[in-house]
């Protein structure tokens, strides 16, 4: 054995009865999410390379692609033009973020039926902590298989599921399970599981670290076990500490059920550069509308509003405003955003290729102002608008300014406008 027992002594060793005694974390990930949704909506795409993110001549990157496209070497985050060169026969789709979001919401609703401890890692990826729900299930692995079955049946999408005693092992198990598989790191088998995995599997090891480690003839996770903690620390600093623990399958991070996000933002790259101020403001209003919906769902108020503009020459400018009283409502946030945008835009004669709005310094409570009379008018308006939209869809109630986007985008009464898809890889 290349590894000495005492190294593993540092883990919370699962008891002999199996995982039931320790933690159980399930990692679940929808395979090629955006592309899979597109295939589902248009079965003619099946079996062909599908790239979601934009058309080949358009700017931007691939948000995701299916397994057929991956065979050509395409991956998420790759510029569309390059993807096209690799695979000219590929089917390029702009995508519809709001449709994906609807799928994602359904995905999470199913997960919450199995445990309240769900951490959203992204739209299509989550950690479930089943530990507290032990009495509900015959075994954890059976519960995890049931989740997988439910999601696949109800969404019609393939998912990969990994089960382990903590987040890192569950995530690595999912990697092993892909595509569409199920893998459980069984108690006591952690070493065997980790030993032959490539070092690139560890989230703490980026491309640079890989190069360094390969020079040291370290290719597999098992090879890392021979490296002393101090050596990893001196090579990679604090990240080395992380690698040391990860390589031994040690991870005490809890599954965070609800994290207060650092910021919420919405942005879009236009199909063509825009110069018309009114049209730009229409975009800004629509983004504010989507943004504030996100804030209200999370019950958050923003102390800082930021507007971003990218000009046709790729120069990006950002303006921000600090608010004494944090805001949540669309009407109020749009007023601030418009003000910022006009200050920013009036200084330039170039047209814009992107506009975005971001809310940060988020709090869950709103302190009332002593000198501005208290009014819940805008709050009540927002509640009423939400109620209408819940019943008739987001597009059922938009401002006149927002409806100016009719000239550019497809409009769906339920979902609103179909803006350019944001990349999952950010």
């Amino acid at each position: 054995m290349t590894m000495k027992r005492r190294h593993f002594g540092e883990t919370a060793k699962p008891e002999s009865e199996g995982l039931m005694r320790g933690r159980c974390v399930v990692h679940i990930d929808i395979d090629a999410f955006f592309a899979a949704v597109e295939e589902l909506l248009n079965p003619a795409l099946k079996g062909k390379p599908v790239i979601v993110g934009g058309l080949p001549h358009e700017r931007g990157v691939a948000a995701t692609c299916n397994y057929e496209a991956r065979r050509y070497g395409i991956h998420a985050g790759m510029p569309l033009r390059q993807a096209y060169q690799l695979c000219p026969n590929g089917l390029f789709i702009r995508g519809n973020y709001q449709v994906y979001q609807a799928f994602s919401e359904k995905f999470f609703r199913i997960l919450y039926e199995y445990t309240p401890d769900v951490e959203a890692a992204s739209l299509d990826e989550a950690y479930l902590e089943l530990t507290r729900c032990r009495p509900l299930y015959a075994s954890f692995s059976e519960a995890a298989r049931r989740v997988k079955g439910r999601v696949e049946k109800e969404l019609g999408l393939k998912v990969s599921v990994g089960v382990g005693p903590n987040k890192i092992l569950a995530k690595l198990a999912t990697k092993r399970a892909k595509p569409a598989g199920f893998f459980e790191v069984e108690p006591g088998r952690e070493e065997d599981f980790l030993r032959d995995l490539g070092i690139e599997c560890l989230p703490g090891i980026g491309p640079k670290a890989q190069v360094i480690l390969r020079m040291l003839n370290i290719h597999k996770i098992g090879d890392l076990w021979g490296m002393p903690r101090s050596a990893l620390r001196s090579l990679f600093g604090l990240g080395g500490e992380e690698v040391y623990l990860q390589s031994r399958g040690i991870d005490s991070r809890p599954v965070f059920t609800r994290i207060v996000p650092k910021s919420v933002s919405r942005e879009t790259t236009f199909l063509e550069d825009i110069w018309d101020r009114r049209l730009l403001l229409a975009h800004l209003a629509y983004l504010c509308d989507r943004l504030t919906l996100g804030l209200r769902e999370e019950h958050l108020f923003a102390h800082v509003i930021e507007v971003k503009a990218r000009y046709s020459d790729f120069k990006t400018e950002v303006r921000r405003c600090l608010l004494l009283t944090p805001l949540q409502e669309m009407t109020a946030i749009y007023r601030v955003a418009e003000d910022l945008f006009l200050k920013l835009f009036s200084t330039s004669r170039l047209s814009l290729r992107l506009v975005g709005v971001r809310a940060s310094d988020l709090v869950r409570a709103r302190p009332l102002s002593l000198f501005e009379p208290y009014s819940d008018r805008e709050e009540r308006l927002a509640v009423a608008v939400d109620r209408v939209r819940e019943k008739y869809g987001f597009g059922s109630l938009l401002t006149v300014r927002e409806r100016m986007l009719d000239a550019i985008y497809e409009f769906e009464p339920r979902r609103g406008f179909v803006l350019k898809t944001a990349s999952l890889t950010r």
Binding site: V363, A365, P367, L368, L370
Partner: protein
């Protein structure tokens, strides 16, 4: 310029200068202090253009003159020299100041005195004399409610001088602190209302004597304590109309023991969210329930006996804002006067001393 002085005499004055001089490196001359010697006296002047300090002390002056030198360096040098020793200061021809004491010698680069901004003078003709200790107590009660962030709000407190009374008011937009005191003999020609910079208030707190003389002109306020004079540029902003927001008819009054209230708040606040620090108070017959929760950590509850007979009221507050008042109120019990969960609450000490103290606090939607 050439003079000698005992370390302790100049050290105290240099120490005070550290709070005045500019620390950011915007204009080098503002990090300097002006040292002027004439006829057995030395005067030091420092300013950041908003707040200035002039201070004098007696010294053996051999040669008059003035020069500016880094306020930080001269302080550090003087501080490092042995106690009780005579220190000699001398300006030499190539714009250097020589500082020597015993066998230690320093030569420090200076800037010409002509570059130093003019710091205004006052005649103190108005004869407005204020009791310093009382003023300091009053500053303690308003200081914390001055906005932290200058970007958000005006950074100063309103001072009102009227017949036989002095008032200080501060606010950051979410709360307001008001103090007033009876001061016999105050008799200005007309009521004086000026905004005093936070930094000036901090400097007044450091002074000690029994009285302080006050004067002002169009642009500046002057506070004189003994040999020291603070000069503070008047903050031009309009102070919010605080009288209009002081609640007059908050019907529900509760009395609570100050110490146990602040301890309970401190405990519950441990699990409040870091940024908003919100705690929820549910006030029922003869008790307050405290609650806080942070989705990332957990939740906390506490319970306290109080004197209260009104209806149930549930309100959220910034826990730090509650504690700020409780820490500065010198009474065993405090009154909390409430209306509803959208209206300002009033807090005051149950028994008021010769300084009246009222704290207005807006609730928080949690």
């Amino acid at each position: 310029m050439k003079f000698s002085v005992i370390k302790e005499t100049i050290l105290d004055e240099l120490q005070l200068m550290q709070g005045i001089i500019e620390k950011r490196n915007t204009m080098p001359i503002l990090a300097n202090i002006l040292v002027s010697a004439s006829q057995e006296r030395v005067e030091l002047t420092g300013t950041d253009l908003e707040v200035g300090l002039k201070t004098q002390f007696e010294a053996m002056v051999e040669e008059g003159g003035s020069i500016t030198v880094s306020g930080k360096k001269i302080f550090e040098i003087v501080k490092s020299l042995p106690d009780g020793q005579v220190i000699n200061f001398k300006e030499n021809e190539d714009l250097m100041m020589e500082i020597s004491s015993g066998k230690s010698e320093f030569r420090v680069l200076c800037l010409p005195k002509e570059d130093f901004p003019v710091v205004p003078e006052a005649g103190f003709q108005k004869k407005i004399i204020l009791p310093l200790d009382k003023i300091k107590d009053m500053i303690d009660r308003v200081y914390y409610a001055i906005a932290q962030e200058q970007r958000y709000y005006l950074s100063g407190a309103l001072m009102i001088i009227k017949k036989n009374a002095l008032e200080l008011v501060s606010t950051d937009g979410h709360r307001l602190s008001y103090t007033s005191a009876f001061i016999e003999g105050l008799n200005p020609d007309e009521e004086i209302r000026v905004i005093v910079a936070k930094k000036t208030l901090a400097e007044i707190r450091k002074m000690s004597d029994d009285k302080m003389e006050f004067d002002f002109d169009e642009n500046n306020l002057f506070f004189k304590v003994n040999n020291r004079m603070l000069i503070s540029r008047i903050i031009e902003s309009k102070f919010p109309n605080f009288e209009a927001v002081m609640p007059k008819d908050n019907p529900h009054v509760l009395l609570v023991e100050k110490e146990s209230f602040s301890q309970a708040i401190r405990r519950v606040a441990l699990l409040a969210t870091e940024r908003s620090k919100g705690v929820k108070l549910t006030i029922e017959k003869n008790q307050i329930k405290l609650y806080s929760s942070n989705p990332e950590i957990g939740e906390a509850r506490d319970n306290l006996e109080v004197e209260y007979k009104g209806p149930e009221v549930e309100m959220g507050f910034n826990s730090q804002y509650l504690l700020d008042f409780l820490l500065s109120a010198s009474a065993e019990k405090v009154r909390l006067e409430l209306k509803d969960n959208n209206s300002a609450a009033v807090m005051r000490p149950e028994l008021e001393g010769d300084i009246k103290y009222t704290y207005i606090l807006m609730p928080m939607k949690i």
